[in-house]
Symmetry: C2
Subunit: 501 residues, 2 copies
C-alpha cells in the first residue's frame, strides 16, 4: 500500500531519535491564516506552537489593508447597522458569478453561510470597525469608514445576477494600516492563550509515521535542524508562491513575463511543496490575483479603455482585478485610456501613465495615437452616440459612468502592462499579482492527496491552498484575507479536535 518516495521534505517518524519540542497543534506560518488557526485551536484548549520564518508574525495579511469580503445571513452587524441587508442567497449568487467554473461550491456555501458570523468574531478580537461606509469607487478608504464596495457588485454582469451590496469590511483607521491593526489584535489574543511562537524558524520537512499520518515537522532554527512533534496536527499557513521564481516560471510562464510579484518576502511556496511531498494535490496553480488600479480617482472611469486596435474591450467600471484580467488578454498586453481633461487626474496607485496623445478633437488625438487609422474615431463615435442616452450596448458600463466624450481637450494615456508601475512598490513594472493556487483542501482544512483522500494530521489554509478566490476575473478585495482567516479558523478547529497520537 505504501512505499518510499525520494524527497528530503519527508522524514519517517521512526527515524527521529529525539524531539526538541512537543506540542498538540503546530502552525507553520504566522500570517492571517496561521493566526486564525492558532487562536481557534488554542481557544478549543489545544496546546499550540507557531513557527514563523520571518523575525515577527504578520505575513502578507499585515501588509494588507485587511479588507475582508463579508456578508450574507441578512447582513453583517456592520451592514445592518447601516441599514443594509444582504441575504446569503444574494451573496451566493454573487460568488458563483465571480468564481464560475473555478469555484469550489463547498467552500462557497460554507463561506457565504458563515461570513456574517466571521465578522462578529473579528470584531470580538478588538479590531475597530466604524459604522460608516465609503461608497465612492476606490480601492481602500483613506478616511476611517469601515465598509465599501470592493468588487464588481455594481458592474455588468454582476449587477444583473445579484443585488449590489458593499461587502468590503476594513478596520477603521485613517490611512491604510488595517492589516497591522488586525494582526496586532489577534497576536495579542494568541499570546494571552499561551501559545508558543518561534520566529526565525521554518519547517523544512514533514514527519510522517508508518500509518501515513503527519505527526510533526523538521524545522530549521539558528541554522540547526530541530524536530517538533505535533500530537494532533500540523497546519500549513505559509502563504502563496509568488516570490518563488522557479514556481512562477513553471505554473504561470505567461503572467510572469509582464506582471510583478506582490506579497511578503517569504511567499515562497515552501509550505505548498511540503504538502506535495506527502502526496498533497495542488490545484489552480496557474491562476493569480492581478491588479490594474486605474482608480482612484473614480472619475477616470468616465474614460474608455482601448486595446492596441483602438477597440474597447471591457466595461470600465469593473473592479481592478477584472480590469487587469481583460486588459492583459489584449494583444501585447497593451491598453490605453481616452479621457477628457475634466476627468483627468493621475491614478493614485499607479506611477504616472504616459500621455501619448492629446488634442482638441478626437481626430487630433488619433493623429498622434498608435491605433490603426480611423479606429479611434469610429470607436469614440459609437460610444458617444449611445453614451448620451446613458447606454453602452457593447459592454454595459453602468449609467453612472456614462457620458459622451465630447468636451475637449482629450488625452490618451498608455497603461500597457509592461510599462505600468505601482506606486506602492517603487521601481516595479507590470500589474501586481499574487497566486491563487495551492494545496487542495476540504472546508475543514484537511489536505487532500492524489487519491482524493485526506492526509491524516495535515491541514492548510490561506494562500498555501486553493481557497475561496480562484481567478482575477471575479476577484474582489477582501476575498483573500476573508478566506485565509475564515478557513484558517476551521483548520485550527479541525486540528484541535483531531484524535491525538
Amino acid at each position: 500500500m505504501t512505499s518510499t518516495v525520494s524527497t528530503d521534505k519527508v522524514r519517517a517518524f521512526e527515524s527521529i531519535r529525539h524531539f526538541d519540542i512537543s506540542t498538540e497543534v503546530l502552525v507553520c506560518g504566522y500570517g492571517g491564516a496561521g493566526a486564525a488557526a492558532a487562536l481557534e485551536a488554542a481557544t478549543l484548549g489545544a496546546q499550540v506552537t507557531i513557527l514563523e520564518r520571518a523575525s515577527a508574525g504578520g505575513g502578507s495579511t499585515a501588509l494588507s489593508s485587511c479588507e475582508m469580503y463579508l456578508g450574507g445571513s441578512g447582513g453583517t452587524a456592520l451592514q445592518q447597522a447601516l441599514g443594509l441587508t444582504d441575504s446569503t442567497e444574494n451573496m451566493l449568487a454573487y460568488l458563483r458569478e465571480a468564481l464560475g467554473p473555478y469555484g469550489d461550491e463547498d467552500k462557497i456555501q460554507c463561506y457565504a453561510h458563515g461570513a456574517a458570523a466571521h465578522f462578529d468574531w473579528v470584531e470580538s478580537l478588538g479590531v475597530p470597525y466604524k459604522r460608516a461606509a465609503f461608497l465612492e469607487r476606490t480601492v481602500v478608504p483613506l478616511s476611517d469608514e469601515s465598509l465599501l464596495f470592493t468588487g464588481n457588485e455594481k458592474a455588468h454582469p454582476f449587477n444583473s445576477v445579484a443585488t449590489p451590496v458593499p461587502r468590503g469590511h476594513v478596520p477603521s483607521k485613517v490611512g491604510d494600516e488595517g492589516g497591522k491593526i488586525f494582526m496586532d489584535a489577534i497576536m495579542q489574543r494568541i499570546a494571552a492563550k499561551g501559545a508558543e511562537v518561534i520566529n526565525d524558524c521554518r519547517a523544512i520537512a514533514l514527519i510522517v509515521d508508518k500509518n501515513n499520518r503527519v505527526c510533526g515537522v523538521i524545522a530549521k532554527r539558528d541554522n540547526r535542524e530541530i524536530a517538533i512533534r505535533a500530537h494532533r496536527g500540523v497546519i500549513i499557513t505559509t502563504g502563496g508562491f509568488v516570490m518563488n521564481d522557479t514556481m512562477t516560471r513553471q505554473y504561470m510562464p505567461e503572467l510572469r513575463e509582464y506582471c510583478m510579484p506582490y506579497g511578503n518576502t517569504f511567499d515562497l511556496g515552501d509550505g505548498i511543496q511540503l504538502g506535495q511531498a506527502v502526496g498533497g494535490q495542488t490545484i489552480n496553480m496557474e491562476q493569480a490575483f492581478m491588479s490594474f488600479p486605474l482608480y482612484p480617482p473614480a472619475k477616470l472611469t468616465y474614460g474608455i479603455l482601448l486595446n492596441k486596435y483602438g477597440q474597447r474591450y471591457i466595461n470600465e467600471d469593473a473592479y481592478l482585478a477584472r480590469l487587469a484580467h481583460y486588459s492583459c488578454q489584449q494583444a501585447e498586453q497593451k491598453f490605453y485610456l481616452l479621457v477628457q481633461e475634466e476627468d483627468y487626474e493621475a491614478s493614485h496607485y499607479l506611477q504616472r501613465a504616459a500621455i501619448i496623445a492629446t488634442g482638441d478633437s478626437i481626430a487630433e488625438v488619433a493623429s498622434e495615437a498608435p491605433f490603426p487609422a480611423g479606429m479611434l474615431e469610429q470607436t469614440v463615435c459609437y460610444f458617444n452616440q449611445h453614451a448620451i442616452d446613458k447606454h453602452d450596448p457593447l459592454f454595459h458600463k453602468s449609467a453612472e459612468w456614462l457620458k459622451p466624450l465630447t468636451k475637449p481637450p482629450f488625452a490618451l494615456l498608455e497603461y500597457s502592462a509592461r510599462e505600468m508601475g505601482a506606486i506602492i512598490t517603487p521601481g516595479t513594472k507590470g500589474p501586481l499579482i499574487f497566486t491563487l493556487g495551492g494545496l487542495k483542501t476540504r472546508t475543514t482544512g484537511e489536505v487532500i492527496n492524489l487519491n482524493e483522500q485526506v492526509i491524516s494530521g495535515l491541514y492548510a489554509a490561506g494562500r498555501a491552498t486553493a481557497g475561496l478566490p480562484r481567478t482575477a476575473k471575479g476577484y474582489a478585495s477582501g476575498m483573500s484575507v476573508g478566506d485565509a482567516t475564515f478557513f484558517g479558523r476551521l483548520a485550527g478547529r479541525s486540528a484541535a479536535q483531531h484524535q491525538p497520537l
Copy 2:
C-alpha cells in the same frame, strides 16, 4: 531522506514476493510514443515488454492523420525533394514564436535539430511519403500528397519572424488513415524485434526499491494483479487525460464547460497519476489543444470573424487551434463569420453552422444579427476600406485572403463554442480538445520529481508528458505525433542504456 506516502499506486520492491514477468524495458501504453520507445529500446538490444490497456496497440496516434511537424537542418528529405529549404534557425524562430513563454527551450532545440533525421527514421519504417505537396489551406490532404502547411506559418505574426515553409509530413494515402499506416508499420518492426506485447493489461502501480529506483509495475490483467520487473526502466506512454472527467474538472474547469474531449477512450491520465505517485512533477496541466476547423473550404477565410459585440478579434487565416484559442477568449465563447455567398460552403469538419442572418446589404444582415446596433456596419466598413488595398491594419490577415465584402448576398454564420459540432465526433458540442500537460521530463525522457531531480528508472513521453506543444495559441498539426514519436525514441534509448538492476 525518505518516507512513506499514502498511495496504492506505489509498491515497495521488498514487498513483492514473486514477479510474474521479468524484462529490461517495460513500456506502458502502445500508442505512438510507446511504439517509438519500444522500437528504439529493442533496436539497442534491450529486452522490451509493452503493456496496452486496449485490446490492441495504436492509441490516439492510430486515430490521427499521423501528421508530424518536421523540418530544419536544411529541410527534410521530403522538403528538399520538393525544392524547399528549411534551416534549423528558421524552424527555431517559428517554434519560439509559437510556444512563447510556455516553451521548453531544451526540447525546442533538441527537436528542431533532430526533426529532419526523425523523418528519415519514420520513412525507414516503411511509411510511404509521396514527394508531393498539397499547398491549399486545409487540415489534412484527402488526396495522396505528403507535405502541407499545418500551422500558422503564413499568418501574422509568424510570417514576420520566420520564413513560411510547409512542415506537416503525412503518410501518403487517399483518405485520412495516416495514423493506422504508421502504427501498422512500426508495430510490425517491433514484433520483428521480438518485443512482447500484452494487450488488455494496464499498470496500476509502480514498484520502487529502497533506493527510490522504479524497478517495475503492478499490472492488472484478466482481473488479476501481476508483478512485472523491469531491470532497466519503466516508460510511461499512456497518453493525456482528456477523457478523465475528474482531472479536466480539476485542471481546466473553464475549458471543459464548452469543449469536447478528443482522443482515445483510454486517455485517462492514469500514467500521469502513476508518475505523480512517485513524486513526479506535473506541469502545463491547464493547457490544451483546441480546434475550430472553420476551413476547409479555404475560401471561408475571406470572411471575417466577429465576437458578440460585432468586433473582429483575429486574422482569419490563422491555424485552427489559434482560431479556437482566440475565439474562446471572446465573451460567452460566441463568435460569428460574415461571408459573401460566393465564398460560402459549409465547413468540412463542422456540423453545418446556423445561418442566423442574411441580406443584400450589410445593413440588412445587421438588422437580423445579434450585434449591438451599428457595430456590424462599422466593422465591415472599416474592413472593406482597407481590404480593397490588400491591407488589414487591425489583424494583418495576409493579402492572399483579403477582399472587401461588397458582393451580396451576405450570410452571417454562428459558430459559437457551445453550438459547434464536429463531424468526426457526431453528437458532440464544442471545440475538440486534448491535453498538453503532464509529467515534467528532460529531453532524455527522464521524469523529474518535486525536487527537480531525476526519478531513477522512470521515463515518459507523449501526451503523458508536457512535451514540445504547450498551447493552442501556437499549436500546429503534427506537433503532438511529432513530439510523441521523437521524444518517445529518446526515452526508449535512455531506458535501454540505463544501468540494469
